[in-house]
Symmetry: D2
Subunit: 294 residues, 4 copies
């Protein structure tokens, strides 16, 4: 499995009235992402409000998403859970449903030691044959995985095979490269770092951006690939204000607001999360226009 | 309802073999806490591994704990949940089961705005008649409630009637006092701040310490109450190394290790949390001895 | 030398027109501090704009201050300097001029290692017979001294005999007490922590507050000494808004503004520092009134 | 004045015995830097221990450096000072001595407000005709200049014409680009960010690296300029371990150690700064070898 380029993160649409998952809207938004030439699809990540879904909902969204993508590109399924047992249960279900990769974020309530994190990953890895993308995002999970720990797991545990880092700290990526002589594929999960992560050697960009920006993220990837830095800068600086806005506002709220503006009916995020305010929507529209105007 | 003094936090015991809740051990540990003259009991808090329990387990522990305490002191029940809907469900169940107060911590995955936090509390408050203790603990919940927001909720929402702050920042307590001219009862949830919080006017100390230290926490409360600062310092500095140790090591792990050492069989914390290591247990024993030797 | 209670920090007055040191105003403000029953006087500290004075100015202010105090209380002279050689020069001059104690803050441009800090203090200590107050204030100096390092210097170096901590972190004070079994006298340099530092066993409060609040700081000290916590809280909460204001606004600016309001002509701080704005002065006046009204 | 590429920072050599400035060594090290095709020379910066020199020493080093460079490339002179008056004095002297640009870092003891920073720069700018490079390095200066403030000064004050940012935060550079539509030339002062800063559009890299790595920094610049990202990555990852090491160890100590190893006799940094330890020197040698081996 060699993943490169744009790994697109769908949101999980809810019906406006009942807050139930809207599978029709899920189908439409997933198919639209695929039309934007994304290189992989990653359902049930942070942006997919995975943490806010019941176990039943999670299974249905996973099953339906894999069915919709239908092998057109690889599916990377988010299986983050607080307890080891529940994470194992999700990992097994992901494999049973036909996911290609699982993405694992060690959510914490109590801070975890390195040994607790290591054993968490090892037990999940032992329960599945699927390749695992280690996901580090201390801002949402409350636990920070050092590059040294991640590299140790990559070297020790067979199906741990890539890492997504969302800290926005480019020095982490340098460390992944150095500690493994370039052997550990790393992916950038911090949108405003997209340009520099590619320049530092990232294999891909894990992002919701194609939901709102279509093929622009992929064009940035292609420009850096071609060594056309002037074009890459131009493409990046066009997208950057929107990328920063969606990160600062929280992805479920801002991406759903943007999709609703674009004519998709994807509902609101689940409470306590709230919808974007009128002034946020106003700002979002102007940033969308800035990004997509030549 | 006027709560003062020591609010004791039980752990949730698990059976060694099955990791199921051990209700016999729960009964023994709760009764022991009551023998130490605690002024209230707060089941299903952070130390009670509430976040790691299933909905069924949570209900059974709540029911059984209230039954065991049997009105000897007030019961403050932790109902923290990620989604508003689930938190409301727990609040209603707490009232139905006969809790005296509910303690509410806004756990987050995505960061919450002040408005999202406010509405979260307001919806919970509207669903119950029970008094609410706002609980701020950004280290575990990932969201920090400003004193200004807490005071606004205290002033606007009828059954929000007290606050527990675990940041360890004494300036927060000053703010509670100043912004309400001393009207908002505040409780300290940071063990190594116990002495100074009482000196600054805290109504109580929310703590697991009585599990391991018996009546020592209450003696500290009494000494500050009596204005005997020399005695208060003496009592505090005896307990402090242990208090710091249990905070740094994580409460479920260290308090369970201590109870097991003291002859209670309370099992291990739930994975990914792990039991204390032999060297941690060794250190714990020496700190227990330091605290309890004259 | 046993210092207890209120250690008052004078500002360094400048003439309004020439920005030269105003020695008449220095004499008046120092004498006024002494009338407020301060237990020691500490010229040329942070509040005294020591860092902004030339070597010639520093010597004259030191000489004149010692002369004005004239043995009524001990004089603690600030000798902070970037280079070791210049700090030694100041230490020798302090001794020659008749200071009772020198206060030493290791200002840094490049971060210092523990060994560099240790040797800095050791070389200064070797150059003088005066007792040394180690001063830790990372917010102004850029370098943070750990309690462990401070205690090691206290134990190893003969004339290092006390510590002033301005971090506002009460846990540092706990550490001083624990690591030396109460042998290291510690002083609090964070004004909004005044109440709790005394409760934790601080020997004194290093503060500019008597410049603006007269005997109120000393009354707080006396109330905690007497174990009258209700009175101590009352006195503290009266002063706290002003204490917080002067810390947040920067001491030279706010204290000079207050003294000018009280009828002392002490001029402006030295550029790039600026005088308080009209709205800051307005706020300061209302906080002064709040603090000094019964 | 259009500066692009590698702006090299010399150290200030001291004699081994007397700690006096060694002008012969200064001449040798400056000439060596010029042989490495640097695009500009910046004496008396952080690495040049400017903060540790007397006013007399500063003038002599400035004069001598300008004389040695002798118009072969532009000279950017660091004039950082705590007080506005002293900074103005240095700015005038820099112009008188024939510097091409002055670099200004607002060192602080008391934190500065935006207005205080603005006025500090404006007064210096009014005292000289030289172009000014605003320098932001909160880790050494203790004050952080927001991109918004820097851009405002660039737009308002005529001879403020470029900015060097050493925070290592690539998002600052994005802001410079966005807020001025690419009009404000920005330079990177954080060595481990060299690759990405060029990719984001930095005009140059302000660095001590050529002292130890010769033409390698310039080759990195050329590779990114040519859009050869594979070659740029290769060149960057070779240099990175050394770049990280010199930043973490403090530039004066590590660069002087490296130059001494390379056969230049540049002495030790000025106390309280200390020379590199034997184990640091050992590590440095192995990193030098790693960087310079094909």
């Amino acid at each position: 499995m060699k993943l490169n380029g744009i790994i697109a993160y769908p949101i999980t649409p809810f019906k406006a009235d009942s807050q139930e998952v809207d599978f029709d809207a899920l189908s439409i938004t997933l198919n639209t992402l695929l039309e934007h030439d994304c290189d992989a699809i990653a359902p049930l990540g942070s942006a997919g409000e995975s943490a806010y879904l019941s176990w039943e909902e999670w299974q249905k969204v996973a099953e339906k998403s894999i069915e919709i993508v239908n092998h057109r590109v690889p599916v990377i399924l988010g299986i983050s859970e607080l307890t080891t047992n529940m994470a194992i249960q999700k990992a097994k279900k992901a494999e049973e449903l036909g996911a290609d990769v699982i993405m694992v974020l060690p959510i914490s309530y109590w801070k975890l030691t390195d040994q607790e994190i290591y054993d968490y990953y090892q037990e999940i890895a032992a329960a599945t044959k699927l390749p695992i993308m280690v996901y580090n995002n201390p801002a949402t999970s409350g636990v920070d995985l050092s590059p040294e720990l991640i590299v140790r797991m990559f070297q020790d545990i067979e199906n741990i095979s890539m890492v997504k880092d969302s800290t926005g700290d480019i020095q982490r990526m340098h460390k992944f490269h150095e500690l493994t002589q370039g052997q550990l594929p790393f992916y950038n999960g911090c949108n405003p770092l997209a340009l520099e992560a590619f320049c530092a050697g990232a294999s891909g960009w894990c992002t919701v951006a194609p939901n709102l920006l279509g093929k622009l993220p992929r064009q940035l990837y292609q420009a850096t690939n071609a060594g056309d830095l002037a074009q890459a800068q131009k493409l990046f600086y066009k997208q950057l204000p929107l990328l920063r806005f969606i990160v600062q506002g929280g992805l479920p709220k801002t991406v759903k607001a943007g999709l609703n503006e674009l004519g998709f009916s994807v509902g609101a995020p689940r409470k306590p999360l709230q919808s974007a305010s009128p002034s946020e929507i106003h700002q979002l529209k102007s940033l969308l226009k800035f990004a997509t105007t030549a």
